[in-house]
Amino acid sequence: MDNWQSGSSLAMLQGRAELLLTLRQFFFQRSVMEVDVPVMARSSVTDINIESISAKPYGGSGYLQTSPEYFMKRLLCQGAGDIFCLGKAFRDGEQGCRHNPEFSLLEWYRCGWDEHQLMDEIAELISLVFAARSSQPLAIAKCTYGNCFSQTLGIDPHGVDLAELQEKAVAASSESWAGESRANCLDLLFSLLVEPQLPLGLVFVYDYPACQSALAQRHNNTQGQQVSRRFEVFLNGMELANGYFELTDRAEQQQRFDEDIAQRVEAGKPQISADRHLLAALEHGMPSCAGVALGVDRLLMQLEGADSIAQVMPFSWDRC
C-alpha cells in the first residue's frame, strides 16, 4: 500500500496546528468557553440533505454527529453563555475535493447577539488568520441572497414561481431537475451560477429563502417578503460557514423536525427521530443568540492555496 503516509506535507500539518491554536486563542481572549461535546449520540439531525453515519455502541443504535449543534444548544439552555466547539463532525456520502466524510468544524454561539454582529466577528477572525500569512488585507463584502441571485439570474428567488425556477434548473443542468423542490432548485442554481460570480475575499450572503431556514428564525425583509435569518460565508467563492439567528421556540422547532421527518419518509431516506433532549432543553428556555459553523479544513485550504481537502488533513478517508 502506497497510502500509509499522510496526504499532507509536514509543513502543512504545522500550518494546521498553528491555525487550531490561533482559533482557540481568539476565543479564549474573548472569554468564549470551549466545550468538547460528544461526537457520538443516540440521536442525530433530521435534515433532509444531511446523512448521519450510524454507530452501534453496546449493539444499540447511535450516530456520529454531523455537527455539535444540538449538544451546544442544550448547554446554552443550561446557561453556559458564549461557547465554542472545535472538533470533528461526520457526514455520510460526502467526498470530493471539498468534502471528506470526517472533517473539522468550528462552531460557536454568541448570546444576545444577532446574525449581523456575528458576521462582524467572523470577519475579524478570518482577517486575523489571514493577516498572519499575508500583508494583503482581506476584501470583505456583504450582500442579501436576493440581490446576489437576481444580479446573476435576473429573477427574484423569493417571489419567482416554482415552475419558472424548475425551468431554469433544468436549463442549467439536466432533465432530472424537472420535478425538484423549490429549495433544491435554488441550491442548484446558486451553486452552479451564482457562486462562481461571487467576488474574491470574504463574502457574507444573508437573508436566505424562507424554504431554506433550517434552524434559523424568519423575518420580513425590506420588500416585505418572508426570509430566513440565515447567512452563509464564502471565501474566494468557496462555501466556508453557515450561521443563524437561532430559532429558540420549542413549538416551531418541533414543527420543523416533523416537516423534515415527513420529507424523509416521502424520499425513502433513513428515518431519524427528533432529538428529545433538544426539545426538552428548548422547553426549559434558550437564550436569544446567533451561532455559526465553519469548515476548518476549507479555511486551511484557502490559507495554503490547496485545491483538495485531502492535502490539508492528516489522513483523508482514502487513506484511512
Binding site: N49, I50, G93, E94, R98, A172, S174, L192, E239
Partner: protein, 190 residues
C-alpha cells in the same frame, strides 16, 4: 450491463448517455452544506468525440456501456473495411473508416493498436504511440545541415505528413509520436 451510481463515477468509466456510449473525463462532487448533493460530470461521447458537461443528482445512476478496449493487430484494408485481429483468439473484426478515423494515417500492417469495441464492433482505433515510417515524398535533403535549423514537411508511406529536419531524404525512416504527430528521430539502418 450494470448500472453505476454517481458515487462510483470515476474518470475512464464508460456509460450510456442519451443512447450513446460515453467515457467520464472528470467528476466533481458538489454539495451546499444544507442542500442536495450533485455531481458535475465531464464526458466524452465515444461516437462523436464531443465533450459534454452534465449535472446529475447524487445517487442517480446510469447504465454502463458495453465498451471494451482491446489490443489488436492491424491486418489489412480491403478498400471498404480495415481488419484487426485479436492476438490470442485470432478472431477478426472489421472496422469502418469512421471508426478508424485519424488512426488511418499512421497504420502499417501488423501494428498493435487499441481497438475500442462497442457491443462487439470496433467503435474507435488508437494507433501505437510511436510508429516508424518511411518518407515517400519531401524536398531534397541539404547536406551539412545535420542538427539545428529549420524543418520541412515530409509525406510518410501511410499518408501522414510530418515536419522533419532539413537533412532527411526520401527513403529515410523516421520515428513519430502519433499522439502529437511530432517527429521523434531518424531510425538508422532501416
Amino acid at each position: 450491463m450494470a448500472n453505476y451510481s454517481t458515487n462510483e463515477f470515476r474518470s475512464g468509466l464508460k456509460l450510456m448517455l442519451d443512447g450513446d456510449p460515453c467515457s467520464i473525463l472528470e467528476n466533481e462532487f458538489v454539495k451546499p452544506g444544507k442542500g442536495q448533493a450533485f455531481n458535475r460530470v465531464k464526458l466524452r461521447n465515444l461516437k462523436t468525440g464531443r465533450v459534454l458537461e452534465k449535472t446529475f443528482k447524487s445517487g442517480e445512476s446510469l447504465e454502463g456501456a458495453d465498451v471494451m478496449d482491446m489490443d489488436m493487430q492491424y491486418l489489412y484494408n480491403d478498400g471498404d473495411f480495415w481488419y484487426f485481429m485479436e492476438p490470442e483468439s485470432f478472431e477478426q473484426h472489421q472496422a469502418t473508416e469512421n471508426a478508424v478515423g485519424e488512426a488511418l494515417q499512421w497504420l502499417s500492417e501488423q501494428d498493435i493498436c487499441v481497438v475500442t469495441l462497442y457491443n462487439g464492433s470496433p467503435l474507435s482505433v488508437v494507433p501505437p504511440n510511436h510508429v516508424e515510417l518511411e518518407i515517400v515524398e519531401t524536398d531534397p535533403g541539404l547536406r551539412g545541415d545535420t542538427a539545428q535549423g529549420g524543418s520541412k514537411p515530409a509525406k510518410l508511406v501511410t499518408g501522414a505528413t510530418v515536419k522533419v529536419p532539413l537533412f532527411l531524404d526520401q527513403g529515410d525512416v523516421v520515428k513519430v509520436d502519433t499522439r502529437t504527430g511530432e517527429y521523434q528521430g531518424r531510425v538508422k539502418d532501416a
